[in-house]
Point group: C2
Chain length 241, copies 2
């Protein structure tokens, strides 16, 4: 149940800032409010949701300032971890990088019906995790994973709104894999930074162009999310049905 809710959040099913009411979630998953509450508590501690005292929980709001900061920190942390992986990674690490890259390469990005990407997403996460797993530092790895999860939220929106970065993703991953096997730290870090910053650049450009900045009420929600048929019931939108 926790994993389900987490997947929903990461999948971008709920729009940012939307309130997460205990009753609707408990009926939705068929469990009591207690377990929903515990799940939300964990999610909030992870940063995927926010908890307002006496106000309940809501989906973590998105903003270009946060995305910008997140990306910058992510580049720094992942560069650190990648460099250490290149120095300290053993044979098992090399093997894992190769294996996860193969899986990622052979997993289709989108399904034939054009819907979302569930297997590819996990494969993508596994590949990037494997890249950094050689650093030999559990703490550093956890931090990197946590940051990546935070960025995942943005990546889903970037996916829906901009579409000019789909073509060379495979090439970027292949380059990262090759540089890892070659232990070319400098170029590896450079490639990883570019890989991380690319979608951020696109999304920020789109956001500033379309004027949806920090407190966009729902312009992102009018897109592919409406597909899920969830009625917008936020009190912030005066243009009710």
């Amino acid at each position: 149940m926790f994993e389900e809710l987490r997947a929903d959040l990461l999948g971008g099913l709920m729009e940012p800032g939307q309130r997460l009411k205990l009753t609707v979630l408990s009926s939705r998953f068929g469990v009591s409010q207690s377990v929903v509450r515990e799940a939300l508590t964990r999610l909030a501690e992870q940063g995927l949701a926010v908890s307002s005292p006496q106000r309940g929980f809501s989906v973590r709001p998105l903003s270009v300032a946060d995305l910008s900061d997140l990306t910058r920190v992510r580049v720094q942390i992942e560069s650190l971890a990648l460099r250490q992986s290149f120095e300290l990674g053993d044979l098992a690490w090399e093997t894992q990088v190769l294996a996860t890259h193969h899986t990622l390469q052979r997993t289709p990005v989108t399904r034939p019906d054009g819907s979302v990407h569930d297997a590819w997403s996990t494969a993508h996460r596994e590949f990037h995790r494997a890249l950094l797993a050689g650093c030999g530092s559990p703490h550093l790895e956890n931090i990197a994973t946590s940051l990546r999860d935070g960025a995942e939220l943005y990546r889903r929106w970037s996916w829906m709104l901009t579409d000019d970065h789909l073509r060379d993703l495979a090439a970027e991953h292949r380059l990262l894999k090759d540089l890892a096997l070659d232990r070319d730290a400098d170029r590896g870090v450079e490639a990883l930074a570019e890989h991380i910053e690319r979608s951020t650049r696109d999304l920020i450009a789109y956001a500033t162009e379309h004027g949806l900045d920090s407190d966009s009420p729902d312009p992102v929600g009018t897109g592919p999310v409406a597909r899920h048929g969830r009625p917008r019931e936020e009190p912030g939108s005066p243009s009710s049905a």
Copy 2:
């Protein structure tokens, strides 16, 4: 209540690895098991406790491997943040560094009766937070804080077991403050790294010398913790009453 439990954990009142039973905690704090459970969930997500499914919660176990890793990562992260603080910090940052250092300097480390240090601990945390607060990156700041909290657990034990680092703490903090005001990044990072690594070195030396490694049952618990009169009721100790 959450803060109380968190302070107890950080204060080293419970010994590492000890089980945290819901009933005793709920009666201890005079609240229901639900709120204890929520607090433990949050603490577990923060890393201060560990959650075993169907087995409840327990105090985060300590090990030299974990401490070593934690210290290494902490040096890297804090160096990153400090360097950015030195570059980007504004007047407000300088002021905060100066102010928190003054408070820290004027707060006695131990009380006259020789007991623990509650005000000093918060002042210490505030000073280090202020040092890094100029980096202009909320995410990086959060990560650094989280790592510092994790290290706090070890620091308390280091305090009780080794005592050769009490004398020059004030000098180290003053040096850090001066270097911050001078914006001397290289020497600042060097001083901070030394400051972080010092107690770790001492504690690891003590641990390896006294043979209490990863799974020490309670040799650390026989120390100042027994002062709290809490009977050892772990099932792991066969020498029961």
